[in-house]
């Protein structure tokens, strides 16, 4: 170019500034689009839950002119939703506890002790997490009927614990591997057995891993549908997803009530996810990244 050097420098600088502003603008527009795609459907559900019944049949208005909690009231008073929530909470909590009790020693052994046939066992465990639940739900139903566990929490806890175990073991093995082996050796010198070392030395260190595994198990169990649909029959053990899927309507589907129920079960999860985002990401990806 035959422009003076200063002008060239100036225009280069200006180009950089424009490029920077352009990039920022692009990022902002992208974020707005992504957030809209991810959140607007959820927001619409909340808006629906707050609309009085006559408003549901007309759009516009998009927003409720007279917001009401009627649908929430109906869900809890005219339907056994409190009992359903109790079922879901109890099943998810007991499954989480069972999963940690069974999964922690296994993960510890895989990471720090020598388990005979370890490689094969780990592949087998991973295979269980990949297989289609539909392939076993029929036979499992027969087993559960045989054990007289139909329509009880225990049927769901048994099935959910088994199928969330692979993930728990996977996540926890990663966390145990990160703890130096020297600690186990030191504990041994002090006369600890492996179990004592796990309890007194390792558990306090892997608490973040336990929290991540517990969170994931809880959420997966809370959301599980196929087993809950198949093994429950009444309000005695029916969980939230099944209730929402089977919501009965006399004439037309009770959309306001469905939206209210959906809002009730989604809001706690929203709060949980926003608070624990970092932990979830760290826990889930630990295994994937390290291989």
């Amino acid at each position: 170019m035959n422009r003076p050097r200063e002008v060239q420098l100036f225009s280069k600088r200006r180009e950089q500034v424009i490029r920077y502003i352009g990039a920022r603008l692009l990022i902002s527009v992208g974020l707005v689009l992504v957030l809209a795609f991810c959140l607007l459907p959820v927001l619409w559900q909340v808006i629906t839950a707050l609309k009085p019944a006559p408003d549901l049949a007309t759009i516009p208005p998009f927003f409720p002119t007279h917001p009401t909690l009627d649908h929430f009231h109906t869900v809890f008073v005219q339907r056994p939703f409190a009992r359903i929530l109790l079922n879901s909470t109890a099943v998810a909590m007991l499954t989480t506890v069972a999963c940690l009790l069974v999964g922690t020693p296994a993960a510890f052994a895989f990471a720090k002790l020598r388990v005979p046939g370890q490689q094969g066992l780990l592949i087998g465990i991973l295979a269980v997490s990949m297989f289609p639940p539909i392939a076993i739900v029929g036979s499992l139903f027969l087993l559960i009927r045989l054990l007289h566990l139909r329509d009880t929490w225990w049927a769901l806890i048994l099935a959910d614990t088994t199928f969330t175990l692979p993930l728990t073991i996977w996540v926890l093995t990663g966390f145990f591997r990160d703890v130096p082996d020297d600690l186990l050796r030191a504990a041994r010198v002090d006369g600890c057995t492996a179990l004592q070392a796990l309890w007194h030395v390792f558990l306090p260190i892997v608490t973040p891993g336990l929290a991540t595994a517990a969170l994931l198990t809880f959420v997966f169990t809370w959301n599980e549908f196929l087993f809950a649909l198949t093994f429950t029959a009444t309000d005695a053990a029916r969980t939230v997803p099944v209730e929402i899927a089977l919501f009965p309507g006399v004439h037309e589907m009770p959309w306001g009530e469905i939206a209210a129920a959906a809002t009730v079960v989604s809001i706690p999860l929203l709060i949980l996810v926003v608070i624990a985002q970092r932990r979830i990401v760290a826990g889930l990806t630990a295994g994937a990244v390290k291989g």
């Binding site: 990022i27 902002s28 974020l31 992504v34 957030l35 991810c38 959140l39 459907p41 959820v42 619409w44 629906t48 549901l56 007309t58 759009i59 069974v102 999964g103 020693p105 296994a106 510890f108 052994a109 895989f110 720090k112 002790l113 020598r114 388990v115 005979p116 066992l121 087998g124 465990i125 269980v128 297989f131 289609p132 539909i134 076993i136 029929g138 036979s139 614990t161 088994t162 082996d181 492996a194 959301n223 549908f225 196929l226 198949t230 997803p241 099944v242 899927a245 959309w255 939206a259 959906a262 079960v265 989604s266 929203l270 996810v273 985002q277 970092r278 990401v281 889930l284 990806t285 990244v289």
Partner: protein, 293 residues
């Protein structure tokens, strides 16, 4: 360095987990194989060995082939959309911007709400008369009459795919974002010094580096999509006219609605085999990809 002492009994540590899996996962799977060779109608007290006849019936069952085709189409389109969108969103969330943690958490939201809730939520959006989608499209003049999103033979499967993409794209974002975080900053700095454009950096540095993360995402999502049940079952029930019936939905209907346990088990076995073969094939590809690096 692993160590072993004679009094450790490492087997005892893994025994509870393994027995649970044997009882609740492996034993029922074996039972399914056995059931698939029998006629079982508990209510009529029918229980007899029929050999491979269910498999022959299945081969000649057009509904099986349709459910297989539906599942294959659903899997291909949804996994492709999830992974490409997920890659884009992950690249975006990898940039620096204010409130990054909060925004990442919000993007994960759809993956954490129950699938059934997601299906209901989309069912309401797709509602032909009261749905917000038709309202918006009519309002903006893009359509002139209401579209029956969940009652149209070709629209419905695509409507289900959109709902599934919405629900599981965040999972793809999560895995790919983790891959992006392993790219060394030095590489980026070096390319900047060399004067590479953003597009060049993406093609020559970022993409090759995150190929393993993307491949793992494809594997996970494919295996998940092949066994899809909840989202489609609640959204469409397999309709209209079985055009959205997947392998899992057909299996479920056979076993629990028409109570043909034997025939249902045969379809369950076939579904299991298909997923097994696809999973072995994908793992083979995955090994090729990682061997190349």
């Amino acid at each position: 360095m692993r160590q072993r002492q004679s009094n450790d009994h490492p087997v005892l540590f893994v025994l509870p987990a393994l027995s649970l899996m044997l009882l609740v996962a492996v034993y029922p799977l074996v039972t399914t194989f056995w059931l698939s060779l029998r006629d079982e109608f508990p209510i009529f007290h029918i229980s007899r060995f029929v050999g491979l006849s269910h498999y022959v019936t299945l081969w000649n069952d057009p509904r099986f082939w349709q459910s297989l085709a539906n599942t294959a189409y659903f899997t291909t389109v949804s996994v492709f959309a999830e992974v490409t969108l997920g890659l884009g969103v992950a690249l975006l969330l990898h940039q620096t911007f204010p409130a990054r943690g909060l925004i990442r958490g919000l993007v994960l939201m759809p993956w954490f709400i129950p699938t059934v809730v997601a299906a209901r939520l989309w069912e309401w959006i797709y509602h032909p008369h009261f749905g917000v989608l038709n309202a918006l499209l009519l309002y903006s003049g893009l359509i002139t009459t209401e579209l029956n999103w969940l009652g149209h033979p070709t629209l419905t499967l695509h409507a289900a795919i959109v709902a599934d993409v919405w629900k599981t794209m965040p999972f793809a974002v999560l895995l790919i974002l983790a891959g992006l975080q392993t790219v060394p900053d030095d590489l980026y700095r070096a390319t900047r010094v060399d004067g590479a454009t953003a597009v060049q950096t993406f093609w020559h540095i970022t993409l090759p580096w995150i190929i393993p993360a993307v491949s793992i995402t494809v594997v996970f999502r494919t295996l998940d999509a092949l066994r899809v049940f909840d989202v489609v079952y609640v959204l469409t029930g397999g309709g209209p006219a079985n055009t959205t019936e997947t392998l899992s939905i057909y299996t479920y209907r056979l076993s629990f609605q028409t109570l043909e346990f034997g025939y249902g088990a045969a379809l369950a076995v076939v579904t299991f085999m298909i997923i097994l073969v696809v999973s072995l094939f994908l793992q083979f590809l995955l090994r090729l990809v990682s061997a190349e690096r």
